[in-house]
Symmetry: C2
């Protein structure tokens, strides 16, 4: 090959990063691939915008077909975001036998299986390392590094914005709204932060991770979802007293072939490897039957980290082109999806209640638990004044079904005013 031509869909922060990484590492790329890489066309929304990357405007176009149908373009790199329109572009690229590298988690979480099978039919590669945890090569770790193991559990801090917010709230004792405003000012949170703080962004990544790690098609709708908007300073303080750190955890667990996948604010033992992942950093903890505990840590987003993952995928496609083996590395899921029911999902739970401060309340709460086969590991009662008290407790492992039944009964119990908050608790156990 004399050179390899790449077409870009999108030239925003990640797209500019891709241009920079390709330019600044041309020697290294040449050494690995054996020929130069050039960006031949880039789809943009506006030709003459000021950009923070030096690019010849003659290669910019407003027409997607100039990228998707150009017979000289070997690989399409999609960094434009968006779901429906972008999916149509990628279908067109693949049916025109162009390999695709994408950083688009929103798209892959919804249309991943469909696009991967289209790629395979067309002997094309479709790589998407950058779609989960930006700069961390976690998908390769799951597919290649742990190829021989059976992964039973994954826990991920896969959203930088929410990790930044929870870290600040924990360390500085500040409120969610206060820290969110700072994160927006610093550019760590978007003007509309709903997808981040509501957990949808993390859920998309967990759908992708669990599909690969468990080798079954997990849909976005299969991911149970709870965001961090209701988390309070008081919750974090009580968690600390009990020796826990709160993180927004993407949780994927397999027992036999039955799985659960969720995203929720959870309390981790301070000694858990994920507990010290702070600020905007991401990490994915993986438990394999043979390997035991491993963790992959790094930047979850950002122009250059994400661009690094995109260009590493490009290198993978180009090596496959050199060897003539494109379209053969994806492995279709081995197992049919089987989701756990609520009575199969076991964990410890943190619970905070406001009660009347009178004789017999704690005792009647205890009997609601014991009637449902549950018990406490830790409990703490604080007077609130005006004959009210706060009870904070952590249960032993109990099924989600029992716990939800307990919550219903507690809400109706004489003496209980409010259930203030509940969180899943994760120890160091596998």
């Amino acid at each position: 090959m004399e050179s390899i031509s790449v077409g870009l869909l999108g030239l925003g922060t990640v797209g500019s990063g891709v241009v920079k990484v390709i330019e600044s590492h041309q020697d290294k790329l040449m050494h690995q691939i054996g020929c130069p890489v050039q960006i031949k066309k880039a789809l943009v929304k506006e030709i003459n915008k000021v950009r923070d990357v030096d690019i010849d405007t003659s290669i910019l176009t407003l027409d997607p077909e100039e990228v998707l149908l150009d017979p000289e373009i070997d690989i399409v790199v999609e960094v434009m975001g968006n779901i429906e329109e972008t999916k149509e572009h990628l279908v067109k690229a693949l049916t025109h036998k162009k390999h695709v590298v994408t950083a688009n988690k929103d798209l892959m979480a919804v249309y991943g299986p469909e696009l991967l099978s289209l790629a395979s039919e067309n002997q094309c590669d479709l790589f998407y390392e950058a779609s989960v945890a930006g700069g961390i090569p976690i998908l390769r770790g799951l597919v290649d590094g742990l190829a021989s193991d059976r992964i039973t559990k994954m826990m991920g801090i896969v959203n930088g914005t929410t990790n930044f917010i929870l870290t600040k709230m924990t360390k500085e004792g500040r409120s969610f709204d206060d820290v969110l405003a700072e994160a927006q000012a610093l550019g760590f949170a978007e003007a509309d932060p709903t997808a981040d703080v509501g957990g949808l962004d993390s859920a998309r990544k967990m759908a992708i991770l669990s599909t690969l790690g468990f080798s079954m098609n997990i849909d976005l709708d299969d991911v149970k979802l709870k965001g961090i908007t209701e988390v309070t300073e008081e919750d974090l303080q009580y968690a600390k007293q009990f020796g826990y750190i709160m993180k927004l955890i993407g949780y994927a667990h397999r027992e036999g072939n039955r799985v659960e996948v969720s995203v929720e604010p959870a309390l981790l033992e301070e000694s858990h490897p994920l507990a010290s992942v702070n600020d905007e950093y991401n990490a994915v903890y993986v438990y394999g039957e043979a390997v035991g505990e491993t963790m992959f840590y790094g930047p979850g987003a950002g122009s250059l980290p994400t661009a690094t993952a995109v260009v590493s995928d490009l290198v993978g496609v180009m090596k496959n082109m050199r060897l003539g083996v494109n379209g053969k590395s994806a492995v279709s899921p081995q197992f049919l999806k089987q989701l756990k029911d609520d009575e199969e999902i076991y964990s410890k739970h943190f619970l905070r209640l406001h009660v009347e401060d009178e004789v017999g309340v704690l005792s009647s709460i205890t009997s609601v638990f014991s009637q449902n086969g549950a018990s406490f590991e830790k409990v703490l009662q604080n007077p609130l004044g005006e004959e009210k008290a706060e009870i904070v407790l952590v249960t032993h492992k109990t099924s989600l079904k029992s716990f939800e039944k307990i919550l219903v009964e507690l809400r109706d119990l004489k003496g209980v005013q409010f259930v203030k908050s509940t969180y899943r608790v994760e120890g160091g156990d596998a």
Copy 2:
């Protein structure tokens, strides 16, 4: 292919683990490779030994050639350890066109480049993921995951025994000898722990890591080496007062094309991602120009974790066999090795001195530093009784050459009794 035949060299703890992982994950392997994997022959030292794995004794042999020359064996898995004799075996395997997977860091640190080039001449794969940090897919991370980036720094906790010892010394205030004895009793340290506690084992792994990460042939002799045998409880206590944690750090740093590689007990800021890697766990911290900070964490040794890495490499070889592209994934080093001189190596240094407790001593120590262009970031003086005092200080960044000159001058300085200890200090800076 109807099936793929593997020959084992060695059936000790890792070899038994490989047999177990292949047997227990046969379905997953079938799914990925499309045909069964069988172990056809295994070289052992004794046929009728009691083993903790169920294996048909008719496939065991005392004769290496029964493995190395068997035309039906496609892949040789080397898990016997040893350097010279094993090298001859692998040369024979490769010249007979057998792919090789090895977990042998001792061998790869010394003969890696020679064996890799022999493999390439014979269109064979030679994979060695298990040789560094057992269960952590770090070599794949460096080669594939960060393929497009320029790695400028790697710091590794790559020896479980020494990390176990330092963790216990730090947390429990115990002496090196005391904890070593416990580690030996628990099986975390060998009867002869020299290669671990002296740093040689870590140095071998850093030679392999830096060769890949920097794309230049780094020899074992290029790695500066200092073990942990001289580390005292007092050093760890002073380190703690200053906000540092001690780890045995494999350190590889590139500036331009000039590199340094060392293994030494070093003091890390408590907030450094490596500072919370405890007990027998390993981790490799990688800094890339584009990606920034990443870290790979997991078990560094153990039968099943190491076997997982070996079998993942086997899967890699088998996928290449299916595609007909063996022997093409290794990339020869891009750069000629250029080692830094001592005046190019900059870091902060921790220094502990015993001095006469009299007027003017600290002042004359300070002037030794300033005459050599160095200064302190932190300093602490403690009376020791009998008109003696202990001075503990941390310098600002200074060259190794200046620091060694300072040490020589301090040893001759009136009022200074001993230089008790010195350690490199690593902050969060890249």
